[in-house]
Symmetry: C2
Amino acid sequence: MEPVNVIGVGMTPFGIFEDSIIELAQNAAIEALTDSGTIESPIDHLIVGAQNPEEFTGQGHLSTLLADYVGVVPAGATRVETGPSSGSSAFESAVALVGAGMADLVLVIGVEKMSQVPRSTASKILARMLSYESEILYGATPTALAALITRRYMHDFGLTRDELSLIPVKAHKNGAKNPLAHFQKEVSVEKVSNSPIIAEPLRLYDCCATSDGAAAVVIASNKAVREHGLSDSAIKVLGIGHGTDYLAVQNRTSLTALNATRVAAKKAFSIAGVEPNKVDVCELHDAFSILELLNMEDIGFVEKGQAITAVKNGTTEVFGAMPVNPTGGLKARGHPTGATGVAQIRDIVLQLRGNAPKGLQIADPQIGLTHNIGGFGNNICVSIFGI
Amino acid sequence: MEPVNVIGVGMTPFGIFEDSIIELAQNAAIEALTDSGTIESPIDHLIVGAQNPEEFTGQGHLSTLLADYVGVVPAGATRVETGPSSGSSAFESAVALVGAGMADLVLVIGVEKMSQVPRSTASKILARMLSYESEILYGATPTALAALITRRYMHDFGLTRDELSLIPVKAHKNGAKNPLAHFQKEVSVEKVSNSPIIAEPLRLYDCCATSDGAAAVVIASNKAVREHGLSDSAIKVLGIGHGTDYLAVQNRTSLTALNATRVAAKKAFSIAGVEPNKVDVCELHDAFSILELLNMEDIGFVEKGQAITAVKNGTTEVFGAMPVNPTGGLKARGHPTGATGVAQIRDIVLQLRGNAPKGLQIADPQIGLTHNIGGFGNNICVSIFGI
């Protein structure tokens, strides 16, 4: 395929805002187009990643509308939806267009406005990602399934409650330095371990909140990079993998591993031609604390059951050997579902450029990775980037 | 880009059915996979085109769910949405994956189940494709805008009511021979011209109905075509174009031309390296009678204002010089929105294979074209196919 580069990034703050879904998308898009240096050039295609805009906001037809409202008409415009990995899947579709030579400049917007409906309605909308006949019918929710997995992981690998709390503690420590994060406040192990129970053994701080927000990136062919004189600042897309699993968790081969992550990571590493130990910084989908452990293991950073040792050793801290979620991750940066995958890419690009927020910049990273889950442990995208 | 081939097609009947959206998608998918000869091979990616499954049926998360329910796990799975052109855009995304070398075998499913909600609710959902502040707020509907365009076309080019009726008459004549069409009954000019007024001057037979249905295609790289010994039956994707326009009709340059069609067609012809007069058969988006005239003109088959002459001369009949919608089009085949674009591709592939239904097969076609509109005169895909 043709080489693909990320040449511009933008992001709104994540949190609870008055802005409409259109305004959020516009703000991120204009920042990314400005950052790319191509704001006056014709864009060939717009791809919008959004999970449930119709149900969260009443606003449908987002790709067609945003093509007009961000000023890329008459470019083709497409919305991509894969649940909470919609942003990453939108990015993948954009990479395919440039990779196939069907476009030279593509704008990708990930957006979600979740606060317009009551929290209980949002939960109901989000719960639809489960299997109706095997899960929803029995009252299962994504949080309940995450609790099930946590319990099993504790049983199999001896994880304790206070060890699990180290994950949201790190997330909040990093989020406190991220000016765009939803939660910019540190928390202690005691506070996490004693916070209200959501689904035993998961507590409040083990579960990401719902947020509003948008992120955008501009990607370009080598030809467009040359034409715009951007060869020095462009970040290379080294590989993308995308995998699914059986919908109902009960049909999967393991409770403590996500095969969709393994499939996606294996493919991404194979295309990129790098090994997991070459990754300098990563953003992983930590919608629940336990997922950060599973993700590290399934991607191949550590052996199964060893992730918590890495967390305890400080390996995953910003200045550790294998920094995970230096932005605060879904827990602290926030998780406006369709926006998350694009925000992860934006944050890794800033790391590779050396432009991460103060106190969060890894020393001289060469390779970064993003990992984004759609559905419960399903429809997962892994992308690898290099300078 | 890498060459891309269509190697399998499937389609359910279009109409009003008891089947769920999942069953419709499964039936079309299994037929396409069987037809392709690859049903026992691993599929690399699933792309699902669907406009509003959540609102029409309550079923979200369609790509993840169908990856399991049609048996392509652990393939990547993506849903694409561009309003009523979701099927064509899904196809475009699939072509990009194969064109970039990111996949060798991709299953594309277009599906919509519209009859689960009352017709008035469906209309409300569909009306969201218009501009809220410039159109919806003033009571405009897609049908009202089509009426506005029809009136202007009548004024500018002298089109009469009975001439306009020739378009649904031809659609129903063809649909009567299409065993999967929603409406398989011929109608007369008198019946069309005297049918109930929907939005003056549009009458009942000028407007497509809402339908349930699904269509699927399997696309493949040249490598996969060779490996499966399908070189003789594969249909080549020669070119795809995709264009948008300003959302509100009042902001566009013309009422009687769709610039998004012009942009999409120009790009598709340029990539394919063919001229409009080389197209032997086409499926155009005739959601309203007037659109068939605009489409013929904007694609470049005839000069502006001349389409009705071609219709009157019989040029667009199945055995005319330029057959348009030999399957009955959206009017008679039916328009389950997300399914339509994929159904059009399936029908053109059958034509190019020489396997169209009895009485609808064009003599020895070499090149076919599909044209699919998302939104009102917006987000339009044109695809060109060859043997």
